[in-house]
Amino acid sequence: MLLRSKMLSQNWMKALLLPVPVIGFLLLWEFASRSFGVPQLFPDPKTTGQTFLELLRSGVLLSDAEVSLARIAAGFMLGSVIGIGLGLLCTVSWVAASLLSPYINFLRFISGVAWISIFMVWFGIGETSKIVLIAYTVAFTVALSAFAGLSEIKLAHLRAAAMFGATPRQVFIGVRIPTLIRSVITGMRLSLGNAFLVIVAAEMVQADSGLGFSIIAARNFLAPDIIFAVMLVIGLLGFLADRGFVALSRSMLNRYSR
């Protein structure tokens, strides 16, 4: 608590400092680009900025972003539902938890990216395979967080409920579910970031649209300035999505984020 109130009072200081890393980054970039010496292969910030504006004006960037974000949104929602469902199942039934545990703990090491080719074979080369891919990675991360949260449930919380005379059902609703909600929120936030990583990889392997596809297309046309521009867009979108999620979860489910 002390840490947080200290940080709050330094918020204005942090805001003041914000331009520093941004400007520093641009300077470093400019320096690196010049040292490399071949602007066609390592574009500087100015060229990249111009390319970015061009792509924006032509509408290509917007449509690519839309496509990628749509896939992420669909996969995220599907994966969250599955992950929450698994989490709930494990809360209700310790048998299910024991049975699922080895799968969750083993399969988590096989990243979604490894599944790309297989999912394409199973689900075709269209939208479905990519959405399934994202759902897979999201479901895992959310389920894992739920698992972790449930196993770390505080003994004092359970004992307090017991001393009040709570029935198992009351403990479930009053203690286990809130604990689950907390972990699920954390897991969902984490998985949103993962979703961005996975979709770009998936679109690089096979797609005809999307931000990942644009990177590959740009590579094929030897246009690193486009690659850089798209990378920045991906970073920005991911950042905004994360901030948006945090803001949303704070406003609606504030009590579970404490």
């Binding site: 608590m1 505080k154 004092a156 919380h157 004992r159 307090a160 409920a161 017991a162 001393m163 009040f164 005379g165 709570a166 009351q170 009053g174 203690v175 809130p178 909600i181 907390r182 009590r255 579970y256 404490r258």
Partner: protein, 252 residues
């Protein structure tokens, strides 16, 4: 009447051979403020957990009003050590209401009762705050409020003021003392702090150092409340209890 009858407890009977407490016997009447004093690791928290019903004795039994304790219940409310027994997703008010809602008390009634007890422990204006917005002392007050709201005849306190600064501790000791005088509940309070024991207790039981611990000796504190360490009777009690305890601390 609350009674520990020849209680022995092993944490893991399959693995351990040495019990933390062995043949521990202790009796105190209803309405008494009984403090158990002992060095670290002597098993006093274990004794509390057995009375609370969180653990069951390996041999022997804990008896309350003639009935053996087998599980936790609303007749024995615990105020835990530290501050993580409050529910972090509930406000102070909702935390106090929790025990009441478990019992099916209607919303309006429990809201009023919870507000009453928060007022009693001096937390007016803080009802809507979450535990992470409260200081250590305030969190302990919330614990006291939620315990009192349950109207349990027996309160169990596990070194509740240990993590607090000296001033807050002193204030809360005074408040607890006052609450006890008004309500005359049976209180089972454990601590390692001799001053705290003398300030609060009707009787103090000193435990041997663990393992295989049991009650060494019980002292009567016949002083008027509120008690002050400046009182000469206080230092007298302090000396005899301290000598009793010191032998155990040296044994560690």
């Amino acid at each position: 009447m609350i009674e520990f009858k020849d209680v022995t407890f092993l944490f893991a009977p399959a693995r351990d051979t040495v019990p933390i407490i062995e043949n521990l016997s202790l009796t105190f009447p209803k309405g008494e403020f009984h403090v158990v004093l002992g060095p670290s690791g002597c098993g006093k928290t274990t004794a509390l957990n057995l009375l609370a019903g969180f653990e069951t004795p390996t041999t022997g039994s804990v008896i309350v009003d003639g009935r053996p304790v087998t599980q936790p219940g609303p007749d024995r409310t615990v105020i835990f050590q530290g501050d993580d027994s409050l529910y972090s997703w509930l406000t102070a008010l909702e935390n106090v209401e929790f025990g009441l809602s478990v019992r099916g008390m209607p919303r309006k009634e429990r809201r009023e009762k919870a507000q009453l007890y928060l007022r009693l422990v001096g937390l007016v204006g803080h009802e809507g705050k979450f535990p992470d917005e409260l200081s250590g002392g305030m969190k302990q007050r919330v614990q006291i409020a939620r315990a009192l709201a349950c109207d349990s005849p027996i309160l169990l306190l596990d070194e509740p003021f240990g993590a607090l600064d000296a001033q807050t501790r002193s204030i809360l000791q005074g408040e607890l003392s006052r609450i006890w005088e008004e309500t005359r509940k049976s209180i089972f309070f454990i601590t390692h702090d001799i001053t705290e024991a003398i300030i609060l207790a009707d009787r103090v039981s000193v435990m041997h150092a663990g393992p295989r611990s049991r009650i060494k000796r019980t002292f009567d504190i016949e002083m008027e409340r509120p008690r002050s360490p400046a009182d000469p009777a206080f230092s007298h009690h302090y000396k005899i209890i301290s000598d009793c305890l010191a032998a155990e601390v040296q044994a560690l």
